[in-house]
Amino acid sequence: MNMELSRRGFLAGAGAGVAGTTLGAFGFGDVEAAHAASIRPFKLANTAEARNTCTYCSVACGIILYSKGDLKKGEKAEIIHIEGDADHPTNRGTLCPKGSALLDVVHSKTRTLYPQIRKAGSDKFERVSWEQALDRIARLMKDDRDRNLVLKNADGVTVNRWTTTGFLAASATTNETAWATYKVVRSTGMVVFDNQARV
């Protein structure tokens, strides 16, 4: 099976072919090309595709994301359709009620869009810049680590353990995110560290 065959290319070719044959049969040879070009192409023919997997359960059904705009070319890309990947050996194109509605979670009205801070005792979030949010986080972490890192236990054994700040990691992130997270968290000596695996 040719895995590189682009579905988009295939559809574009097929569409033009059908138009050309029909018109040719009626003897409109000359106008054929012009007419074919004026036909509104199938919606997905103008999209970029990306192979992905469903974000929910670990059946990990294969999906195809269709976007207006191509990320690979550095364009802004808006996902307009998601469907099951028929080539995928596990799901063979099928999706369950969760996977079928993935587009709605991508474009959910309640996605987080900007860094925000809620100050102590406040009843609202306030929008801040990434710089402000990250500087604040680093400050809070360092102050707490400097004050509370346990260097040695009662027996004088070097333990370098930080127990007053903890990190709960996500199990829908990629392995690569998990590894970057692991490195950063472990390097601080943090031991209050867990993920959904236990829950």
């Binding site: 969760k98 079928s100 400050r139 392995n175 998990a178 590894w179 997270t181 490195k183 560290f193």
Partner: protein
Amino acid sequence: MTNSWTDIKNTDLVVVMGGNAAEAHPCGFKWVTEAKANRGAKLIVVDPRFTRTASVADVYAPIRQGTDIAFLLGVINHCMQTDKVQWDYVRAFTNAAYVVKEGFAYQDGLFTGYDESRRDYNRSTWDYEIGPDGYAVVDETLQNPRCVWNLLKQHVATYTPEMVERICGTPKDKFVQIARMIAECASPTRTMTSMYALGWTQHSKGSQNIRAMAMLQLILGNIGVRGGGMNALRGHSNIQGLTDIGLMSNLIPGYLTIPTEREPSFDAYMATRGFKPLRPGQMSYWQNYRKFFVSFQKAMWGEAATADNAFAYDWLPKLDVPAYDVLRAFELMHQGKMNGYFCQGFNPLLSFPNRKKITTALSKLKFLVVMDPLQTETARFWENHGANNDVSPAAIQTEVIELPTTCFAEDEGSLVNSGRWLQWHWAGGTPPGEAKHDTWIMAQIHLRLKELYRKEGGPVPEPIVNLDWRYKDPNEPSPEELAKELNGYTTADLTDPNDPTKVVIAKGKQVPGFAVLRDDGSTACGCWIYSGSFTEAGNQMARRDTTDPDETGAYSKWAWSWPANRRILYNRASADRSGKPWDPSRKLLEWDGTKWTGYDVPDIAPTAKPEEVGPFIMNPEGVSRLFTRGMMRDGPFPVHYEPFESPVVNVVAPKVRGNPVARVFRNDMEQFGDAKEFPYAATSYRLTEHFHFWTKHAHANAVLQPEFFVEISEQLAKEKGIKPGGTVRVWSKRGSVTAKAVVTKRIRPLVCDGKTVHIVGIPLHWGFTGAARKGFGPNSLTPFVGDANIETPEYKAFLVDIEPVAGPVA
């Protein structure tokens, strides 16, 4: 999973217990349908609810939640009593013949060595007799009364069909019918698969639920074969990956462990991880531990980890308790002993037990950072939402920082499915607003911390300032760079041990697999079990070749599976002692006289002689364990323990409440309810239209299942005067919720030891953010106690009361 989704089509019998694949894993469940349609496989479902999985089962039996061990030990007893045992497998591939030390015993629900004050055992007698040759003593004839087989036989004898009915509420005839069907799989040419999920793990004895089935599968010879195995369906899309990479208090990637403070030096650490074989000639693969560990340290600290500083051993934290799991974390927070907390794509306000305690704990933090693509309840725990989050913002002094992250569709990288396949995916959309990748955020935090330590100094800055961060763009390591580190690479030329002038792999190359890793610092590898996933031949996880010779379901060129692209774990056990497949029609591997050949990557050295080397190469015994020695805190055999909140007394151990070694924090013990006050047995579950607390943010799913409900039987509804669709209040010792009542035939009362037990089902998908109606989750009610071995909270069995209340006017 020991096997894969696509392998399920090879089975003869599917047992779904502790899961509901048709609703929770629908597209994977399709493979059960395949097996039924094409092989005539049968499906057994044992569940408190008549689920959609049950609706297509050949046999369904009800069971009271939290009694699976009694049921499974009952089946083992049936197999032993009726001689339905795959004897050649049991004799050759399990520790049935191993002789257990004098002094080990079991009585009234407890094993030798129990100390009630510590809620723990002294496990020193839970081990093999060691002979003068230094190896475990075995009695191949199985005559020794102290061999594992005879001890097991004695242990399970209590669990007769009558006893199973008394404990589980499963009608005896149903149980016997199921036990017989399962026992048929003792034949070398019949196999059974076990599909389970959180219905088994979310108990104070969750690990032992799974042990019990694993033991049964070994007795039937179903581990390592096509269509067999222990198949954890798993929840989140990368729960397997996060576990593999060890994002847990006590883990190092690849199931290595963080040192404890009893191991002050690298040598002391290695001394307990020698893994000397327990029988002659066994591989005992963990003997390579040091290579994996040193390579991990090199991946963390690069050139700063050297032989001279014991590869930066001191830079790893040393634990004083077994683990700082989430329950301990929130206990410490509740005691005011924590200041900061990060939640990356995790919503503990709805996910962790005893929500009132969680809210109080979060309110005591100085700061909380939430990184998430969705607006979670946790990030808004301080916001008043009336009855749905009844707090006073002014009284909560926690500073909360919410950071927007990308979702799957805007991110690239690999995820590990339940079958251990690492599948690469690509981004399709631009992140909304100012959302950023988690890798960028983690890099920013690291770079800022490093800068602060450089500028200001501070205690032990070394592990932070020396963290290997040689990425092309330090502000955002690329998924490929990170994946290459996980695979591992050489940091020096690797020479042939027999000829040091010969370079076998040059410096700076991706390693082809974990077999070449070394313990002298010449290799770096983030996660040894992922070694082979991104080699000099490229990104193996991105492979999309669907060829499957002879349609075995292996798809060995699709993506990449750990370890070493092996699709079925323990696959050496698919062939008999001499290396011939048990079932020629289901051949996986075969010994051709000089090497192992077949459809899968052998789970053994390719030239290891079948009669000499046992198939369970990770175990120092070389065989699998029916008796787990001292490796599990609550016993070398499973025992039936009631949930901490149970409607009945434990009939096999009346004096024991819950799992006797499950950790219970003092104040939580006082918050357990009893059956007098809370007469109904509640359980939690998922719906097919929802995934945890995410899909309520998706319009379509919010429309499909808009509102929180609880599910009860017609009988209970009648008793309590509850109308279908009416509003009810459900409460436990820890909290109270209101919900719509769904009155159903899917749940029926059970009779356990002469007592009628009513079950209340509580699905878990609602909160106070998103597109669905505001509601509650079961965690407002559930107890703060976890499994004795891994601390998974007991969500599946607890006690409540229920009453009708006036509902909102529609």
